[in-house]
Symmetry: C2
Subunit: 266 residues, 2 copies
Amino acid sequence: MSIERRAWEVVLQNIELDLLSGRLRPGDHLPPERALAAELGVGRSSVREAIRVLEVLGLLRTSAGSGPTAGAIIVALPGGGMSALMRLQVAAQGFPVSDVVKTRLVLEASVVTELAEASAQASSTMDANASLHPDLTTPELLLCAMESPALTEGEFLALDAAFHLALATASGNQVVTATMAGLRSAIEGYVRAGATSLTSWPDTSARLRTEHRAILGAIEAGDPPAARSLVQSHIAGYYAETHLANHLPDLFANDHTDANGHPVAR
Amino acid sequence: MSIERRAWEVVLQNIELDLLSGRLRPGDHLPPERALAAELGVGRSSVREAIRVLEVLGLLRTSAGSGPTAGAIIVALPGGGMSALMRLQVAAQGFPVSDVVKTRLVLEASVVTELAEASAQASSTMDANASLHPDLTTPELLLCAMESPALTEGEFLALDAAFHLALATASGNQVVTATMAGLRSAIEGYVRAGATSLTSWPDTSARLRTEHRAILGAIEAGDPPAARSLVQSHIAGYYAETHLANHLPDLFANDHTDANGHPVAR
DNA sequence: TGTAGCGTGTGGTCAGACCACACCGCCCGA
DNA sequence: TCGGGCGGTGTGGTCTGACCACACGCTACA
């Protein structure tokens, strides 16, 4: 079955096998395109197509020139690829925006629940090993930064995104972190557009600030149900308040298909 | 900022904008590569690199020849791209296997909870509209197929994957469905390798069958907590029983970093 | 009227060329 | 002897042109 593949697929598979076998590890250089092409018996353009795919997927970084920093280097940065994938799938209507928001809700709830549980466990065992305590320094700093009244809507939303992402990072699950980053970037445009349709941005931003504090408080207090509930109403509340709600009448309903049983196009 | 981009990025951005603006919709044909290259003032190879990325991301399908079925067609199949991304990120050690399993646990729990809630709601309202009831026909059929004692391990695991995916599909969330498909394919190799290290495959497969029936039963009975609990122990149990457990000592712990705070290479 | 065969347009691939860039080392001047 | 400037060299980035395989659709022939 491995015959009859397109040339660039051969290259991609070859690199994947090298990764799986450990012949290639993060930080390593890929062979030069010309060498790879000769080695695999394909044209250089086919090699480039495979490399381009890996680059977009966040697996490697390319740069021209010479020396140790040049060439194609394995990096395995999951966020970039996830963002591109989610963004394009939403653009091509493969992912309904409502599903993106729902999924974000699920993951975010899981993150804060886990963080609160870890926090409670660390407190109850009274252990001196501080490493059991999740590191919430970054989220706290971001909350402080969001207090500034001089922030524009865009700056505030960027900090908001960073806050939620920092919580995911603190939970330590790289898959969840990358997925949440992708989900966020996929609906970035909708979030920003929704902000402009608010009746009062100062009111909303003040509420968001309060809710952020409450979420972080529940985590630090080791109260998983509260943290979960707070984060769910926080996210759902924002989407309900913004114009985005017009596109998401069914965020908490179950009929997300039309009369024919097909997903409703939004 | 749009200047100074690489040629293939210009092409990619152009197509993304066409998707966002609705100029391109699922089912549409992309212009021929040569025409697109001329229109955007880039070489054909650059166009091909962008198209290749979109193809791997599951956004379009290409085929040679002439006629309405040929060319590059927007399809927006989310599963393929997600699988490639997850698989490669795991291969390149960007995603620890333990995080993949944990994320699968979160999503799967959310799926069955939602299904059970929908089932309960549909029953309690006694509504004649059967569409409120999630369609569990496919999972049921898969369970029947798994009863066959003649199945090999590989066939059984394939049906198992299809069963879990069918549950996600029944929940109607395309993002979750695609993500779960990606997560599963990312650890496919580990799952299969783990199966060979079992003390007794007949015993394990019998247990899996029973657990599947119990999960589906809890969903149909409209018992969300039971469904959630059953699916979590189902997944965690399998990974604990297989050799995979050696690689996942911390599936439910929080220390997935080494002494230096870096992710543990697995 | 039916069908076999060719024209045409498409993606798939390759080879070769050129450019920009970044390092590396030689060479020349102080 | 030491220092800096400058070209060589290897890399990715891009373009061009060519050829192939394929599938459709039309035409010409039986």
